[in-house]
């Protein structure tokens, strides 16, 4: 297997779902079974991804394979030189793992949907949309440059728009899809400006080339501040896609889409794209940018968790839990815990995908009931759904022996180490509090849905375990939530292969823009060369990721682990006390904490505030502009027309009565004079002589020439 054939395989994986999309979209209506083509193609893509991943991780584990081609050639541009815009494919360990995650979850969602969506009137259209979504997501994953990421980023936005609004007859669904697209666009504008800052300075979009130039000491517009700005602006894209505060509002609404879509897009893949993006630009993040990222992540995680505590819609709880977990990942990247952020992305993709599909299984059997207050006792009716869901819940709560335990524990240790090194203790504190909250609200969900007595007997009686097409994906994802797939030692993720594959990339930012503990003078990690990224290998490109940080993380590893187990245990305990054993009344507690409860239940009124501040105001402004345009601007035009006509009328009157009047008057005077003078025309020569003589005398008298 050569490197170039790996690239061709990756490109093949990318285009398979697109082919499926085109075929099913064009002919799906005519041939009902055509959706199987899409399902088959995604299966092939999955198998190829496994194959590519295997080859990459066995034969080329330390290599980054890049291929570029020219997309636009702008020729010999004055003052820049030959300017081309290149696109390219990059395969590193992150790529192949993402390829596997995306194609696996996508394939499972395809199978699940065959049963879930059966009978829908746009059944084949649905599979076409899944195809274009998978294509877009894969494009982000294999891109070697920011422009290509941006292109597929927006295409993901499109496919998400199509899928959220799939049942567009419902106003809520089309509203939600529009909201998702527009909210994401806000972040994307920031991201695009960030990309423009980099392109303006480096004339390339390629990660490797940008990193190389920064590591050579070339910073945008000659200032570290611009580098920070570029990092934060590109991160804004992630704020949108990964639903971070303040752009988180679209994700809960996106639950209007079919539930398998929520599993695919709004749990496992699309929302993870933001985290993936930040991971990709990680080397150029300055200390200031990282602090901003960490704070946004921390705020998001606790904010969303606080809302998840009180929601009653099973999908809304999962949605807010997703936002919260994404906040975790973003926070981890911000504190430099790169490996664990990405690790959590992967484990979360599996267990959250699992739980969304599980909720889909529940909703399907309850005939589209989503309110947990109408559920209860389902574990007897749906044992497979229950057990797999429980495994997912244990994983997200960070209970030992699960995948979530490994990634979450490392992530929290990362924040703690960061706190120790920089004094920002609030970030780890938030991290640990959220861990407890997560365990609580997730078990609240499990208990309300599966435990206790059925609260709606009628729906309960009709509930049934889902067909195999739905339960097998659940079983696969549940097994992937067990530690053994990641490490042989359930207490030490660092012993596992995952940890070895995904290493923190070397930072390239100038020394004076790094955290104190990231400076290279005393903590140089030899051999971490920038040519990881492009093969340029210039001598001064040797940079470091922090050994100090690694050590600190190692030191707090066990304390963090013990603390997180305790907090998770407490969260679970309280959930059982309140909802299972009913020792504490949830209602009374809510009554006591009424203001807080209302804030949480109403999602901190974010939608209302945004609607009032931004949406209404934009509409006001737009109506004002339209009024201004038709009344003032066009008014002036019409007024000048009226004015011109007025002037023309005056001129016309003047012409008729004054100018022409003068002419007529002259004629009249002449005529009158003629009438008078006619009398003098006697015809007698003598009379004329008298006139002449007298005239001459009078003239002479007047001019007196003598």
């Amino acid at each position: 297997m050569t490197e170039s054939s790996l690239i061709s395989l990756a490109v093949t994986i990318l285009f398979l779902p697109l082919v499926g999309f085109i075929i099913v979209l064009l002919f799906g209506k005519r041939y009902e079974k055509l959706y199987l083509v899409e399902v088959g193609l995604i299966t092939v893509a999955l198998l190829l991804s496994i194959f590519v991943g295997f080859i990459k991780l066995t034969n080329y584990v330390n290599d980054t394979i890049i291929t570029q081609f020219t997309w636009i050639d702008l020729g010999n541009v004055p003052s820049i030189g030959h300017l081309t815009i290149n696109l390219g494919i990059m395969i590193d360990n992150v790529t192949v793992i993402m390829l596997f995650v995306v194609t696996l979850i996508s394939a499972l969602v395809h199978y699940f949907s065959i049963a879930y969506m059966a009978g829908d009137k746009r059944f084949s259209r649905y599979f076409a949309y899944l195809g274009i979504f998978t294509f877009s997501m894969l494009g982000i994953v294999i891109a070697d440059n920011l422009l290509m990421i941006y292109i597929f980023w927006e295409l993901v936005g499109l496919s998400s728009y199509l899928l959220i609004g799939f049942w567009y007859e419902k106003k809520t669904a089309s509203d939600a899809s529009m909201k998702a697209f527009l909210t994401n666009r806000i972040g994307d504008i920031g991201m695009f400006i960030g990309i423009l800052i980099l392109f303006t300075n480096y004339h390339t979009f390629s990660f490797a080339e940008i990193f190389e130039q920064i590591s050579n000491g070339v910073v945008p517009f000659g200032s570290n501040g611009w580098l920070t700005a570029a990092g934060i602006l590109i991160f804004l894209g992630a704020v949108g896609k990964s639903a971070q505060v303040p752009l988180h509002v679209w994700l809960p609404d996106a639950m209007e889409g079919p539930t398998p879509v929520s599993a695919l897009i709004h749990a496992a893949t699309m929302v993870a794209a933001g985290v993936y993006l930040v991971a990709r630009i990680f080397p150029l993040l300055t200390a200031d940018a990282m602090i901003v990222i960490a704070v946004v992540g921390a705020i998001t995680s606790i904010f969303a968790a606080s809302i998840a505590l009180t929601q009653n819609d099973i999908k809304k709880v999962l949605a807010y839990s997703t936002v919260s977990q994404l906040g975790y990942m973003i926070m981890a990247l911000g504190v430099g815990a790169y490996t664990f952020a990405f690790f959590h992305l992967v484990t979360h993709a599996f267990f959250k995908g699992l739980m969304f599909l599980g909720s889909g299984s529940v909703i399907h059997s309850m005939h589209h009931e989503q309110d947990m207050r109408n559920m209860g006792g389902l574990k007897k009716k749906m044992p497979i759904t229950y057990i797999t869901f429980l495994i997912g819940t244990l994983a997200i709560s960070g209970v030992p022996l699960t995948s979530g335990f490994l990634s979450k524990d490392g992530l929290l240790a990362g924040t703690w180490a960061f706190g120790n090194l920089t004094g920002h203790y609030l970030i780890p504190i938030i991290g640990f509090v959220v861990a407890g909250m997560t365990a609580f609200y997730m078990f609240r969900l499990v208990i309300m849905t599966f435990h206790g007595e059925p609260r709606n007997q009628h729906k309960y009686d009709h509930a049934h375990e889902s067909p195999k097409l739905m339960t097998i994906p659940l079983i696969i994802l549940a097994s992937l939530s067990i530690f053994i797939f990641y490490t042989p030692n359930p207490a030490a993720p660092a012993d596992g292969w995952f940890y070895n594959w995904i290493q923190t990339p070397a930072t390239v930012v100038p020394e004076d823009a790094r955290f104190e503990f990231m400076k290279s003078d005393s903590h140089r990690v030899e051999g971490t060369e920038i040519n990881n990224y492009g093969g340029s290998g210039s001598e001064n490109a040797v940079v470091t990721h922090s050994e100090m940080y690694e050590n600190e993380m190692h030191n707090v590893h066990y304390p963090a682990m013990i603390l997180s187990i305790i907090l998770a245990g407490l969260g679970i305990l309280f959930a059982f006390l309140m909802y299972h054993w009913k020792k504490i009344s949830a209602d009374k507690l809510a009554e006591k904490l009424k203001p807080l409860y209302n804030l949480s239940y109403n999602k901190w009124y974010a939608d209302e505030i945004y609607s009032y501040l931004f949406i209404q105001r934009t509409h006001d402004l737009s109506r004002f502009i339209a009024w201004f345009d038709s009344t003032i601007v066009d008014g002036i035009v019409n007024y000048s027309a009226t004015f011109t006509r007025g002037v023309a009328n005056i001129a016309g009157w003047f012409d008729t009565y004054i100018v022409d009047g003068f002419v007529n008057f002259t004629a009249f005077v002449n005529g009158f004079a003629g009438l008078a003078l006619r009398k003098m025309q006697t015809g007698k020569v003598q009379t004329y002589i008298v006139y002449v003589v007298f005239s001459v005398i009078i003239i002479l008298l007047i001019i007196r020439p003598f």
Binding site: L74, G75, I151, E169, I193, H619, R623, A626
Partner: protein, 526 residues
Amino acid sequence: MQGFPLLTLLIFIPIVGMIVVLLLPKNADNNVRYTTLGVTALQLVLAAVMMLNFDYSAGGIFEASSFQFIEKVRWIEIQNVAFLGTVKIDYFLGVDGLSAPLILLSTIVFFIATLSAWTIKKSPKGFFAMYLLLNAATMGVFVSLDFFLFFVFWEVMLLPMYFLIGIWGGPRKEYAAIKFFIYTMLGGIFMLITMIGLYFSATELLADGTRAYTFNLLALMDQSNYLADGILSASNPENWRMLAYIGLFAAFAVKIPMFPFHTWLPDAHVEAPTPISVVLAGVLLKLGTYGILRISFPIFPDITRELMWYIGLFGVINIVYGALAAMAQKDFKKLIAYSSISHMGYVLLGMASLSSTGLNGAIFQMFNHGTITAMLFLIVGVIYDRAHTRGLNDFGGLANQMPVYTGFVTVAFFAAIGLPGLSGWVSEALVFVGAFGVESIRTLTIIGMLGILLGAGYMLWTLQRVYLGELPDKWKNLKDLDKRELAMLVPLAIITVVLGIFPSIVLDIMTTSVNSLVEFLATTLN
């Protein structure tokens, strides 16, 4: 291709077509239609021949030798006129990377608009005669390299347009036609004044070694041709160049249309029949920005550099103002008209950057706006033909009733929104890359990016109101697209998608010329 009068054919085939149409008997409506279709198809072939023989490495712009398909004949010559010496005007045609993409665009749009005009019932003979005259004049503007000739074609364009709106238009057609006519005419006067000023400021070396006043655009771009005391000579310390530039710019700005000279456009669009809207938005608006690039920029590089911030400012105003105004519209066609204003703002912004990336983006945006907006107006036409209303709030749920149609709507809307993978995004992105790279207009560029958000806002809102949701009972009998409508929409959709993925197909035509224009603008009179 030496000696083959390709450009003359491009201009005069429609004139011949017009004469044929006028000679056809009164009730031979189909013959009239097919004649027009044949003429526009022939033009498409000519454009294809032109592109096949096009030299991608020739710059053009200011250099006569690198223009292509040149035709130069003395049109008017009077010897020994008092004070003036030889008065001469050339029939001077040529193509470079600036005009070639727009000629290509015009032939495509005119062909498709002909199909759209098939349903014109009221005196097709008159309609198509006027339509062909408009076609000829448009081609003439794009290929003229002599200011006088350019001006003649520019003014000739007005006449058919006036009648096409004034006779075949909607309820307020007279108002819209007169407004359009007077507005453009007024701009034309400014152009005429500047043209005469330039004429008396520069001379051209003739073949016999004498010098004569000139309308030759390329001669006017050469600063060494200017008289020391010419009223528009840069070497004259008391020159009137700034004023002349603004006057000329205003003439072009009306056509773009640029805020605050834009209010004729919504009226003209709302009243014009669909094919005329298609041509107006698809081709005629580009004449304004083309004129600026062809005439204002290279003849006044000094003033251009001085005023670039203002050009950028007006571009950004167009983008944001147009988008906000579009959002408040209740008439589908008016919304698209305002979106046109917004999208032409990107062209201005890209031009203001005076950088290769920005100018490539601007010209490519002209091309893409031409195809995408043509699609949008066709889409409005389809629905208006069936429902006889364009009220955005009168519809809903058409996606289920007319799925194929809605598919094209989705492509066109997302192209207008600037979705990557479709052509509109590439040009918008290039505009932003170019404009952001210039420090003085960087802040403006960032404000202009609001347009991306607002554009998505009003487009998706329209999509929701008209196509999503429940279908009202009264529209349960609307039919999906017929073959003729497919023949109009399919090619445009294909162009949109293909150019989104392979933008080089069109960009390569212009890059050499753009680079030489940028070089020229940066070095001349500096």
